[in-house]
Symmetry: C2
Subunit: 808 residues, 2 copies
Amino acid sequence: MSPGGGFGDAVLRREDPRLLTGRGRFLDDLGHDALAAAFVRSPHAHARVVDIDVAGALDVAGLVAIYTWEDLPGRVGEPLPLLIPHPALTHGRTAHPLARDVVRHVGEPVVMVVARDRYLAEDAAGLIRVEYETLPAVVGLENAERAADLVHEDVPGNVGAVLHQETGDVDAAIGAAPHVLEFRLDIERSASMPLEGRGVYARWDADDESLRVYTSTQASTSVRAAVAAKLGLAPAKVEVIAPDVGGGFGVKIVHPWPEEILVPWAARLLGREVKWTEDRREHFVAAAHERAQIQRVRVGFDDAGRLLGMDVRILHDHGAYTPYGIIIPIITSTQLLGPYKPGAYRAEVRSLYTNTLIVTPYRGAGRPQGVFCMERTMDRIADHLGLDRARVREANLIQPDEFPYDQGLTFQDGRPLIYDSGDYPELLRKVKDLIGWEGFEAERAAAAAEGRRIGVGLGCYVEGTGVGPYEGGHVEIDSSGRVHVSTGLTSQGQSHQTVFAQIAAAELGVPIEDVRVTTGDTRRFGYAVGTFASRAAVMSGNAIALACRKVRDKALRIAGEALEADPGDLEITDGVVHVRGDRSAAVPLRTVAVLSNPLRYAFDEEAARATQFAVGGSQDEPPVPRGEEPGLEGRDYYSPPRSTFAAGAHAAIVEVDPETAEVRILRYAVVHDCGRLINPMVVEGQIHGGVAQGIGGALYERMAYDESGQLLNASFMDFLMPYATEIPRIETDHLETPSPLNPLGIKGAGEAGVIPVSAVIASAVEDAEGLRIDAMPLAPDELYDLRLRALDDPALRTRRASRAAARG
Amino acid sequence: MSPGGGFGDAVLRREDPRLLTGRGRFLDDLGHDALAAAFVRSPHAHARVVDIDVAGALDVAGLVAIYTWEDLPGRVGEPLPLLIPHPALTHGRTAHPLARDVVRHVGEPVVMVVARDRYLAEDAAGLIRVEYETLPAVVGLENAERAADLVHEDVPGNVGAVLHQETGDVDAAIGAAPHVLEFRLDIERSASMPLEGRGVYARWDADDESLRVYTSTQASTSVRAAVAAKLGLAPAKVEVIAPDVGGGFGVKIVHPWPEEILVPWAARLLGREVKWTEDRREHFVAAAHERAQIQRVRVGFDDAGRLLGMDVRILHDHGAYTPYGIIIPIITSTQLLGPYKPGAYRAEVRSLYTNTLIVTPYRGAGRPQGVFCMERTMDRIADHLGLDRARVREANLIQPDEFPYDQGLTFQDGRPLIYDSGDYPELLRKVKDLIGWEGFEAERAAAAAEGRRIGVGLGCYVEGTGVGPYEGGHVEIDSSGRVHVSTGLTSQGQSHQTVFAQIAAAELGVPIEDVRVTTGDTRRFGYAVGTFASRAAVMSGNAIALACRKVRDKALRIAGEALEADPGDLEITDGVVHVRGDRSAAVPLRTVAVLSNPLRYAFDEEAARATQFAVGGSQDEPPVPRGEEPGLEGRDYYSPPRSTFAAGAHAAIVEVDPETAEVRILRYAVVHDCGRLINPMVVEGQIHGGVAQGIGGALYERMAYDESGQLLNASFMDFLMPYATEIPRIETDHLETPSPLNPLGIKGAGEAGVIPVSAVIASAVEDAEGLRIDAMPLAPDELYDLRLRALDDPALRTRRASRAAARG
């Protein structure tokens, strides 16, 4: 790796001029002449489909087709795949793409309508009469656990999975501990809620017998595999392209969505272009949610607050189906440990079905819940022992000389949970400095003097990033000198046009302006996993770097022949290969590109004119020697033995209105370590966005299901997301502990921002109020209720009084 | 190479069920909704364009656009590329895509019209008035040589190129020879004349900013390079696909045709699909011709007929432009030598411009003319010395122990003309046996007794095939077990679906039914040269074999892990990898394909079910180890140091009508050596078609230009092509001298049939008539004229009498 060319610099986002001037091409910007699909969706959380009467819709002018489950042939009608099987998921269940007999959540698709435009399709959908026999709805984890009713009649107790993670003898450790605490925590549902919902647009090319599918996805190669398998097409005959994607945050990693199968299937059947664009209400009830858990903690610790044993029992709400397996509970139960040594540890997660929307990863993917659990535990311990909250954390941190550190558990990738590198004490020290931890009591006193109630909180986390199994990169330099970089994974705002170009520019010695990056287009790169788990930079970034090295080696080899120089004596500067320290003997990469293909009539006269050199080779040597290939291009893959672990510490100062119980975040500080920084501005952007989403989860967002399974706030009028006005300036600092696992020494940064926010805000509000915060999000009315209840709680009353006294 | 699975067998053509039942998809079967293009073409052979008045066309309903040269921006309007530069081509010239100021042949495009359909486009084209100032037309080689007028005012003497090939001291050798003959030979123009003419259909995809071009071409990758360069697009944004192509025979190797630039350019500009399909008259005047040469021979030889020195001066008619360089004269002047040792040899080719259609390679590509020259020479020597014609040839043949044999010249690929292997005496012996050479005088006598006039002729040739620089092959086995083979070169009837599948089936150990072959689609394979020069089987066949070996090795490696066996102990039979001699330990290739991608959710449940094996690998080993790639696929290239040389001998018995001078071919015998046979039936089909085209060139086909450059027979009413009724049953035998140059030991067979036919028919007619045949084709009226002239030629009268006496 030879840095330079902008690696590590805060290069401005190259995608912004296009996106900010409205030239982005999102799913609904495509296919204006396509037929439109609309769906009749279940209005019931749990019901049997008795009859479907389409007669009323048949007269709608412009109606093209109506499909029910009965119309779906062969594999198209089979249940959707269970993507990531796991031995603990003993009762995995997935839906049919259109309901076959029973619907299990409001929003489940029942009938597909295709018409000339969306208006007509919706009109026709509205005229279809579906007769249901309603069944009892199971809503909420406690109801699900009670199992008076069943979501799937063949899943006893509504238990889809029971997952154990254990290290050491927990019962013995807690039994022998000088202090033991037990408590319960509640985390509500939220959702990825990207500004652009899902959408699919498919064209069948009868000439070519091939299908092109544009879909707003985080995993175009996987959608291709699914569509090909379902439709019985060779993968080579299915092109899947993720155009500009207006946010993913996890919900678009699920694949195939029913619509991703049905729309291409209909396009092929009808021989017409068909498009479906999700509307917001559909996104609320027919995409996916995350987060909801109930955690029951029992923890034993010593006088210094050091963890001796921790036993966590988690109820995880999986919604109606488990297409994405149990990744979230696996992550919660492992990443809960954060930067700490837990002593003995046991987690048992029971993943329960409910008659609500499916639960699949949302930015953070189980980590916010785990960190909430651990950091709430730390605060409880500090409170119990009367210790400084930061001090308790410091007592439990893994030390810099302990890496690689094996937590003794099994991570989401099926590999051991081994942290590769980090410096957690330094992270904590920096965030304390940044927020002014040590001087906070003076600040609090000054505020109190003005009648203001403020508090400070902090939280730490470790995030496994760059999960495998692999990504690939392809790099080609054409005869104009342009560098085309492609990788299979997709982009949803991660600045891949910038950071992958920075990597390629640095590796190849070319100006970043010459680099073009293509992602998520199976025509360009056919093997990929996808963009999730903070893995894009680590996986594709390293694959692109490795591919660039192949291309660089080839360029030096060819230029060496042209210049009659040893390739080892050459370097590349500003797109020109030259003898090190001697720019007079030089050949531009665009010329090397022409020379690389023994088919010389390159149609590029400028390049041809520049080609003053003849590639050598005797008359007995073939123009393409064995092992060589024509073209100045290279492909390589990066596949790590295990994940790399980023980490960070956040701290916040909040002010709580003594009257209205409204929480305002005064300051928010982040210290983040994702190894070597490719572009600090991009990393900070990721962190800022993540913190904003975390604040949403901490204070505003919840899915308000009533007991019959109706989502009461399924619109942006009713579902609260933070505006810019709710987000403070985020103060950010970095630490760089390079990962030893990959060539670039980088770690992922996509999800970090969101992970500890609920824990930090809870800690700060608790600090401000002297109350116990056990559930998030925390709305003003809930905080107000807590205050009222505290008045009736002698223990809390005593605690608040003693804290007030201690602070003078 | 492990033969089997049909390699070497006469497998039925797998493309035939589709093509013979009308399910072929040729260019004009595509794009029914596309706009249509039509061209206003020059009615003059040489003229200055003074004015173009489009006013009359503007009212045509459905007219979309009219373009003249003035409308073409930047590189689109520049002259077409000169594809294969050569130092001897000192005055190469190419046309603008639309005439800029001067038109130089009838049919040159001047204006492009785009309209709703072809009828309207033609209507509008007919209403456009182009004012010309006519210039003197140069038609015919002798006029061109006289150079009273110039085709290009800056090309003195109309001489585009003067090419020398020389070995030994020719003047000394001929000066010292006991016998010297001098004579002149004339070969007329013909043309490839595929049943499907040219055609281009382009779509601009604004969503994707990419262009898809379907074109009836022999070189889709080169069209892509040209379109990309001309339109300023990255090659990755241009997809070029050759659909089913209804014959090429050389004319479709030229690229880019003006229409191949203009149609995609217009499609992009208009944002609409645009198609142009060549009509037959356009093909006669706006595509390309070949063949026309005047050869002046001086030859010295000894009493046994052995060549001592040969001096050939050739005038080659290049038509108005030289887009394809001087490949034809290079081939004529080198391949003229055939299987013979010429003693000292000199060829000087003067390539002249005329105001006629361009001349580019047509099946045989200069070889038929060269072989005509050499074989006519052999017959002259035999006649002069009174020796048996076969005996003279035998005296000059290269012997089997003389390989590799260096002719001391430079071949078309710029490499030395070295024959790799062969057994020419055996070829000649076999064809004499086949035709009954030794017993022919009895046959002749028997015919004469019935008043019938018959004659026998023979001819030998050597054909450099499999010219480089390279081709590539890609092979992928998917999780259904299907094998997808792709190569960049195109197919125009060469049975690639059959022979490439035979190669893959044999190399991989799979049933041929599981193999699908894709050619000429840049989406599938982006690097290629093209299908010409009898190179497809040699180049792509070997590349595919090498790619298969990579895939096979990978399959054995993965199956070895699954079966816990040494890959060296495994073999593949019927698509199943198993321990050699033990079918109980086995894993099907479809399962190996699933195992090859560490992203396991393959969406193919059948394959998943079949996957009973876990690929090993410790927890410290990445899922994709360094140097490995996901997927059961492989790519490789074949690039030879030089061409391989096929050879053959033909013989024919003809009957000439004593009254009408009509020639009927009674028998036609071919002995052919193209090394190892992949599929004898396919090779014989190639030979049969070639002989039929050769018979056309020998007896029927010519381009009847008048002195003003008008082509008088530009239709199938007037241009004579042989019907099946004119083609005798062709008796074929093979010899197999494997090429030592490539892994499969094969040589090309595509052009062989056509090469010696004119020479063989001339020899036979001469033998029947006792006349001197110096020009081809030979129409009955011409033969009749020769008979009349012979009556006035005392030498010929004497010769005919003495031959009649000798035969008793």
